[in-house]
Symmetry: D2
Subunit: 314 residues, 4 copies
């Protein structure tokens, strides 16, 4: 596709840039927004984690909750866009574009999250990284090893969730608070501090699937070197797969050009924006990478070092 | 425009629905995403607050930070899309689509937020509502009354920010943590609990400018009546102004049809999706409402009752 | 809106540029694509013609056919997007997004077009301008003066339709050919020649509602000065109202930047792209112009001179 | 991809439907809009023609002109979106999104088209099918066999161009008229008649790359069975690859649902809309088809029978 034009050429360039990130041993952040797990991308993300194609995941709460849902053995089914949503509501079925899931089973997963939260140390303020690391370990201990959370815990790969309250985790925690007196707190400021630490450790690259809070959360980390008395230049490699358009003022965050003016992306960063539904672009990218980067992948070090002993304390 | 078709008809219907929300005394949530303050919508939002056209604001951190920036007397300037962003970076100018702002002045606003945070009670876990209420009061006490934060504090109108860490507030707090030993915590679970309380109090309507975390955060509140042993039906009025498209799987959250299957929106809710840049649609809607809803607006009660004494403690 | 940003600022700039075109006495082309007549924009276009806010119209066949349909006293009705289209098909109702029309009445309008064609001089090769001029005169002679075709004929304002066969006019003519032995021909090359004549006569500006064939047909006219041994610089003012995005490779034709590389638009042309549904943007633009350009409008000369006696022969 | 969701699932369904069209021996129309030849899709289209994966091509003039350009040995080169278009204009280089071409060479191709037109029978009214068939033969006779026009002429596959005047063919013909006294006419009504004949011959399917005039021109053919006293049901298979969105009122023509209300598409047609840049989706579709439909492809009859002796007279 590299010989063609328009978005096919951008897709080919995405593969080149990602491949170069792997060879150059930079820290790779993946920002994950949009209902990618219900859309069937869960095993692709797991593959990225297990094969060290990424080092740090920043996600919406929804994707992590849907991963938990599937990890517990529940399913998303194929539905269709033209469904009658009032009828679905009557039948207690939730729709996510062309995907369906059972409201009752969803409630059971919410219940699991609530119980898990009640088992954590009350009064302590967790980072979202700690919360999801412990949840991944819990899943492993139950023999539920197939998903994103379990794979990340096993690989010591940090997961951040900048809007945890905005998801079923948030409502599960609210229920735990009101009904069970749960007093869990979250140290969302430490999340930011750690992101800056990781982003400051060495050159870095980003892969954005969609925009939203994961995208900006990753970008802003590069603006805060001053916290640790460092001068940072911005991410040096940047790929985004997006279906948004720049003319609405932001591209769900900002364009890479705008990002350059802020220093979120380095002046000479290698960047590409792939305008394509991620369900098409991401499997193609990853399939191509798995072919031509086998050597680089094998040699990549575990990202666990990124936070030193912090991750190890669990 | 009601006599025409396509999006003009939807715009006219948006005015009808909002107007009916005002007459029916429902609780009106505004979800605000996208760089609406840099885009010049700040005074429109202030008008909505001061005239009680909305009761509760859920916003990205960025819009609130840009409001603080302007409240402190600093500016966003007209720029252009075709700017050379490397040159802007050299000149320490940040670009937001066709708007520019000074990096140095931005740093000063960040410094203000950091100092403000250092003045709060250390070790205490604040809701984001409390944080922004206190910040609005601080601005008022400094004679900076022109903006969203000050107007909301004065009107006792709650503001929530589900991804506070994902904004310059987040990086200001991270700097305060590392450099000043600031130990502020945030009770993001209580944010969710309060949202459910407000959404459960009486029938409700939503206005979404863009999608993202504000949109889902408002929608999920209606799914959690069970926390307080209530059966809720979903929001009964729903307007969204969006530039996203449903075929990408979500419309930055979900379509109102999908929302019905979940119960986020009631089966018989009056809904409209206006596919238009909010910088065009929002001023038209508000200007029309100010003309034909003067009576209804005058009679609306303060939203302060929504959380009872909670808001009053400050 | 000029003081705001994003698309609201572009809308304000559109008004400025159009207003300047009126003052500077340039030839103004309007390219009309998309189902603008069914969408309720017919009277806006008539207003533009009657008040000389444009000088030449290039349209899809569909918009002109829908104008004929309404001119003959038939209607488009409000429908809804969620209609069951199989049921509509059974009920012989056609849907155009949220607009409906009767298949039977549509057939009657097609019949009218077929009979009209049979009344023209057989064997002669008409330009599309001549065809629509005669059709407008026919409507006037029947007392049907309310529409685009009649207004344009009265104002001697040329209408071109670069894809006449691609519309119900095309199928009406095909029926006339097969069933009535109609031998009408079209001189589509003379259409192009005339467009070049008009575009070469003096400085020019363009207003594109959507893209498609009208947009390119107007743009290419400025590339062909060499036919008449003239050097042309490209259109000097250019406004487009579009809902397409540049990343797909074309913006339904090309962006104004691309157009500059071709010489379709002059290097120093004043241009603006308004990303907005035309049903919202066009009425706002025209309403603003009617207020602030009254003097300029009054003084504009009839565009009839553009083709000299050619138009007069009918 | 069939096991996933969103647009990946639609892409998988597109392959199924196309594959079924091949097995069921229906007449397959391809509508081609957008700058697909400059974007590198030329050899994909040639493959479709040579392997009988389509039976009839309806295209914009631009794609056919760019095919001629490359057939004559000239090139499109890789450029970039951020080019300075004033500078390109000075250097006589045309830009098409991220593709460049030499203005001088383009003029030479225009000259070739003009001379070719001057060699045709003057005063005669050609269908666009005849024009492009003869042009394809001319290219073959010059040993230029690599492109769309030559392949189609060799395969007796009809090509229609509903807006011939709206392309460099149109301006070449205008130059021929004014400067060389060329009196070529086009019988655009016969184009429509032939399309109805082809679409009436047996069940049919459509593949739309983009929208515009090719899409509607193919769809309307199925509404005109009455011309030949036939009752037609609409196309029975329908695939479109589009980057437009339905909320703007049309999807560059209409959605397949709307098309059902008109009878353009049969009530029970198998349809799918793939929301993806065609430069990505089309090669994937064709590559998949070439693998799993080898048998079906081999057995497909030449489409030449479609117009009986008409095509043979040349």
């Amino acid at each position: 596709m590299g010989g063609t034009s328009f978005q096919a050429r951008n897709l080919a360039r995405g593969r080149e840039i990602w491949s170069q990130m792997l060879r150059d041993e930079v820290t790779i952040f993946l920002g994950l927004a949009g209902a990618m797990v219900p859309a069937g991308m869960r095993q692709v993300i797991v593959y990225l984690i297990e094969n060290r194609l990424i080092d740090c995941l920043v996600s919406t709460g929804a994707n992590l909750f849907h991963d938990l849902h599937e990890s517990l053995g529940r399913s998303h089914w194929k539905g269709s866009v033209g469904s009658d949503d009032r009828e679905l509501a009557n039948s207690k079925i939730y729709r996510i574009y062309d995907v369906l899931t059972s409201a009752k089973e969803f409630d059971q997963t919410e219940e699991f999250a609530r119980n898990f939260s009640n088992g954590l140390e009350q009064g302590r303020a967790y980072t979202t990284r700690e919360f999801f690391f412990l949840l991944g370990q819990e899943l492993s201990s139950l023999g539920k090893n197939q998903g994103i959370l379990a794979a990340a815990a096993k690989a010591n790969l940090p997961i951040y969730c900048p809007a945890l309250g905005d998801s079923v985790f948030g409502t599960a925690l609210a229920a735990a608070r009101v009904k069970d007196g749960n007093q869990l707190r979250f140290d969302i400021v430490k999340d930011v501090v750690e992101m800056v630490q990781i982003a400051s450790a060495r050159p870095s690259g980003v892969i954005f699937v969609g925009g939203g809070t994961p995208k900006n959360f990753i970008q802003q980390a590069k603006l805060c070197g001053y916290i640790f008395n460092k001068e940072l230049d911005g991410h040096e490699y940047a790929i985004q797969v997006t279906t948004d358009s720049p003319q609405w003022g932001g591209l769900s965050g900002c364009t890479f050009d705008e990002a350059r003016s802020w220093g979120k992306v380095s002046p000479n960063a290698k960047t590409v924006t792939i305008n394509c539904d991620a369900t098409i672009a991401l499997p193609i990218l990853v399939s191509a990478l798995s072919q031509d980067s086998a050597e680089a992948i094998k040699n990549r070090k575990s990202p666990a070092f990124l936070l030193g002993k912090d991750l190890a304390i669990f």
